[in-house]
Amino acid sequence: MKNLCIAAGLAAASVSFAGAAQAWQPTKPVEFVVTSGPGGGTDNFARVIQSIITKNKLFDQPIVVVNKGGGSGAEGYVYGRQNKSDPHRVIFGTNNAYLLPYVAKLGYKYSDLTPVAALALDEFIIWVNGSAPYNDAKSYIEAVKAKPGTFKMAGSQSKDTDQTLTAMIQLATGAKWIYVPFQGGGAAAVQLAGAHVDSNTNNPNENVGQWKAGQVKPLCVFSPVRLAKSDPVFEGKGWGDIQTCKEAGLPLETFQMPRTVWLPADVPADAVTFYADIMEKVSKTPEWQEFVSRTAQTGRFMKGKEFADFVAKDDAANAKVFEAEGWVVK
C-alpha cells in the first residue's frame, strides 16, 4: 500500500513536472458540476460561464453541464470527492463548499476540494413588502424589536446564507424574527410580494421582478459600499440608490456570498492554474460584465492567496454564527 502511494506520488510529480514544460490542457470533455438544481443561482452562474467559454473559444474541449444539487449542493461536492485527482470535473458553488460540512454530516470535507477562483460576490438586501410603512432599515428593525417573535422573515433553505444573515442581524440588533424556510429565493420573493411574510434577505436578482412591479421595496444592502449605479428599476430608484446597511445605522456591515469554482483534491497544480486563468479571462469579457451588472452582483475576481484569505475570513465569520445558534454537528 505504502509503495503504491509512493508510486502514485511519483507519477503525480512527474506529471506536474512534464506540465511545467508544457502547460496543462484538458484532453477530454470537461464536466461542469453545478451544486444546485436547474434554474438556481449557481446554475445560471455555471451556464453563463459555459456560454462565454464556448462563444469565445477559450478552450477546445466541449463542456457538459451536470446538475448535482441534492443535499443543498452537497451532492456535487461529494461527487468531487469521489472523482479525486480528476482535473476534468470543475465544480461550481458558493460559500456552501466550506460551510455545509459544519451544519450537516454530508460525506465530504472541505479538504476534498481544491480552490480555483471566485468570480463575483452576490449581495444581500433587506426587502419588505411594497406597501409596508417602513422606508428605512432602522425603523423596520425598531418595529420588529417592539414586537419580538411576531414578524416573519422568509428565506431560502435552512441553516443556509439567508438564515445565517437573519441570525447575524438578530445577534447584532436584538430583534427577533420567525424564520420561514422556503425551497428557494424565488418562492421567498413571491411570499413577500403576497404579504404572507414581512421581509426577506434575497439577492438582488431574486427580487428584481417584484421590485419592478412595486410589490416589494429594498431597505438596505449588506455591502461595504453602495452597489454600482444602474438604470432606474422602480420610481426612479436604481440599485445604486439603495443605502448600505452601515449608512442605515445597522451595527452590521458586510454579508456577501462568493460565486466560487473548485476542483477535486489532488489535481495537478497546472490544471488549477489553467482553470484560474480561464476564469480570469471570462471575468474580463463584456458578456460577463453584462451578466454581473444585470444581476446586480459585484464583479470581483479572486484566485490564489487572495481567494484563500477570503475563504478563511468568511469561514470564521460564519462559523461564529453557527456556534452561537447551535447548528454545528459534532
Binding site: 446554475d43 445560471n44 451536470v66 448535482k68 441534492g70 451532492e75 469521489q82 454530508l106 424565488g186 447548528w327
Partner: protein
C-alpha cells in the same frame, strides 16, 4: 379585448416559416426524449439550452416549449404501449391506456390520448390569453397553508378510490412518503434516512421508482405469464386514428371536467402530476360504471391526459408572471430566460410584450403542430407492439436501465431501479396498488414542506388551515372528498343489510 389584440400581434411574431420549422424540430426531439424513460423533458431542455444561447429569445423559447410539448406526448406513448410512464404526469395514463393496448386497441388509446391532450393544452392556453392579469394576482394569494390544502385535496380524492382495499392504498402511500423524505430536508436543514450513504444524499428520484415499479415490474409479470405480449395482432390503420377522432366529442363532459381540474391545478401549485391523478379519480367516481376503469376504459385515458396538458400549459403563467417555476422543466426554461437577458416576473408582460405574446401565440401553434406530428407517428408506434416479445423485451430492459442512469448519471440508480422492479412485481402479486406510492413520492415532500412551513407561520396551531376564505374552502373540499367514499361504503352496507333481512 386588449389581450386579444396583443395575441394577434403575437401571432405575427411567431408565425414565420423559421419558427414553424423550429416547432416541428422541437416536437420531434421532444417525442424522442419523452419516449426514453428517465431522459424526460427537463433533461432534454437542459441539453438543448446551450444551443439557444446564440438565438433570439423568441426563437429560443419556441424551440424549448415545443420540445416540452413533444416530451409530454412522448411520455404518454410509452405509458400506453409498455406501461412505462415517460414522465411522472403520465403515470395515471397507464391505468387504462396499457390495458387498451393489451387488448389490441393501441391505436385507439394513443389517438384518444393525443387528441384529448391537445384539447387540454388548448383550454389552458385560452385561459392564459383571457385571464393573464387576474391569474397573476390570484396566485399571489397562495402561501404555505393554501399549498398544503391543494395537496391535501389531491390525496383525499385518491384515497378510497376503490380497486384495492383502502388499507393497502394507505400502506403504499406510506412507503411513498418514506421514500420522498430521503435526503436533505429543506425545512430543518438536516439529512434524513441516508444512513451516511453518499448515493442517497440527493434523495430517491421518483423517475427511478417509476421506471422500476412500472417498467421492470411489468416485464417480470409478462415473463411469468409465458413470454407473450398481447396485442400482437393489433391491426394498424390510419383510418382508425380518424375514427377515434370522430368518437372524441362523445366524451365532452370528461374533456371539460378534466380541463377545469387541469387548469385549476396548473395555476395553483398542484402541477400536472397531481392534476392527472385527480382527474382520473374524479372520472372514475362520477362514471356510471366505475368497474370498467382499469380494464381499458377510454375515459380513463382521456381524463388524465386532458388534465395533464391543461395543467402543463396553464402552469406557464405563474412562471412568467411570478417567476416561480411550476415544474422542473419550467425551472430550466427560467434559467434560460435569465441567460437570454429576460427577468421573469410581474413586469415581464409590460416590459417585453412581444416576447410574452409571441410565446403564448407559439403555444397555440406549437400544440397544433404537436398533435398533427404525434398523430402521424401513431401507426409507427402502435406497430412496435407487433414485434415479438423476445426482441422487444430485452430492448425495453436496456432502455429502462439507460433511462435510470440518465436521470442523474449515477450507476447506483440502475440497481435502485432493479430493486424497485422487484418491489413492483411483489406489489402486483400481493394486490397492493402502485399509484398511491408514486403520488406520495411526487408531491409528498412538497406537501410536507408546506405543512411544516404553515406550522412555523402559526407557531404550531392547526387553525391556520381555516384562517381565511380561500384555505377554508380548499380544506373543506378536501375533507368532503375524503369522506365521500366512506359515506358510500356505509350506505352500501346498510342497503346490503336491509336486502339481506328482507330475504
Amino acid at each position: 379585448m386588449d389581450n386579444v389584440a396583443s395575441l394577434m400581434h403575437g401571432f405575427s411574431v411567431a408565425l414565420t416559416t423559421h419558427h414553424i420549422l423550429l416547432m416541428m424540430a422541437g416536437v420531434l426531439l421532444g417525442i424522442l426524449v419523452g419516449v426514453l424513460p428517465g431522459l424526460g423533458a427537463p433533461n432534454g431542455v437542459s441539453l438543448l439550452l446551450p444551443l439557444t444561447f446564440s438565438m433570439d429569445p423568441v426563437s429560443a423559447i419556441i424551440l424549448l416549449t415545443s420540445l416540452y410539448w413533444g416530451a409530454l406526448f412522448g411520455g404518454s406513448t410509452t405509458s400506453i404501449l409498455f406501461n412505462i410512464p415517460g414522465e411522472p404526469s403520465s403515470v395515471a395514463t397507464t391505468f387504462d391506456g396499457h390495458p387498451m393496448a393489451k387488448q389490441g386497441r393501441a391505436t385507439e388509446a394513443l389517438s384518444f390520448a393525443f387528441l384529448s391532450a391537445g384539447f387540454g393544452a388548448m383550454a389552458g392556453v385560452i385561459l392564459i390569453t383571457l385571464l393573464s392579469g387576474w391569474v397573476a394576482k390570484f396566485a399571489l394569494k397562495f402561501s404555505s397553508p393554501e399549498y398544503f390544502a391543494v395537496y391535501f385535496m389531491t390525496f383525499a380524492s385518491f384515497i378510497g378510490l376503490g380497486g384495492a382495499s383502502p388499507l393497502k392504498a394507505i400502506v403504499s402511500m406510506g412507503v411513498g412518503f418514506a421514500l420522498a423524505s430521503i435526503g436533505m430536508d429543506s425545512v430543518s436543514g438536516n439529512v434524513r434516512l441516508t444512513f451516511e450513504f453518499d448515493a442517497l444524499l440527493g434523495g430517491v428520484s421518483f423517475l427511478i421508482a417509476v421506471i422500476g415499479l412500472f417498467g421492470i415490474g411489468e416485464l417480470i409479470i409478462t415473463m411469468e405469464e409465458g413470454l407473450k405480449f398481447e396485442g400482437v395482432q393489433a391491426k394498424v390503420r390510419i383510418s382508425d386514428v380518424l375514427r377515434t377522432a370522430a368518437k372524441l366529442p362523445r366524451y365532452w363532459v370528461a374533456l371539460l371536467r378534466s380541463s377545469l381540474i387541469g387548469i385549476w391545478m396548473g395555476i395553483t401549485p398542484g402541477g400536472p402530476t397531481a392534476a392527472s391523478f385527480m382527474s382520473y379519480a374524479m372520472a372514475k367516481r362520477t362514471s356510471r360504471n366505475p368497474a370498467k376503469f382499469g380494464k381499458g376504459e377510454p375515459e380513463g385515458v382521456i381524463a388524465p391526459e386532458t388534465a395533464d396538458h391543461a395543467a402543463g400549459s396553464s402552469a406557464m403563467l405563474p412562471m412568467l408572471a411570478l417567476g416561480i417555476p411550476g415544474s422542473a422543466t419550467a425551472a430550466v426554461m427560467m434559467g434560460g430566460l435569465m441567460i437570454w437577458g429576460l427577468n421573469p416576473g410581474p413586469t415581464l408582460f409590460t416590459d417585453r410584450p412581444d416576447f410574452v405574446w409571441g410565446l403564448i401565440a407559439s403555444m397555440y401553434l406549437g400544440n397544433v403542430v404537436a398533435v398533427i406530428v404525434v398523430l402521424a407517428t401513431v401507426p409507427l408506434f402502435a406497430s412496435i407492439l407487433r414485434i415479438p416479445f423476445a426482441i422487444i423485451g430485452p430492448i425495453i430492459v436496456a432502455i429502462c436501465f439507460i433511462g435510470a442512469f440518465t436521470v442523474a448519471s449515477k450507476s447506483f440508480d440502475i440497481w435502485l431501479a432493479l430493486a424497485f422492479g422487484v418491489v413492483g412485481y411483489l406489489f402486483k402479486k400481493l394486490d397492493y396498488p402502485i399509484a398511491p406510492l408514486v403520488l406520495a413520492m411526487v408531491i409528498g415532500d412538497k406537501a410536507e414542506d408546506a405543512f411544516r412551513q404553515s406550522m412555523i407561520f402559526s407557531q404550531g396551531s392547526l387553525s391556520i388551515f381555516w384562517s381565511n376564505a380561500l384555505v377554508s374552502t380548499l380544506m373543506a373540499i378536501g375533507v368532503v372528498l375524503l369522506l365521500l367514499p366512506l359515506v358510500g361504503m356505509i350506505a352500501q352496507r346498510l342497503r346490503g343489510r336491509t336486502a339481506q333481512s328482507t330475504v
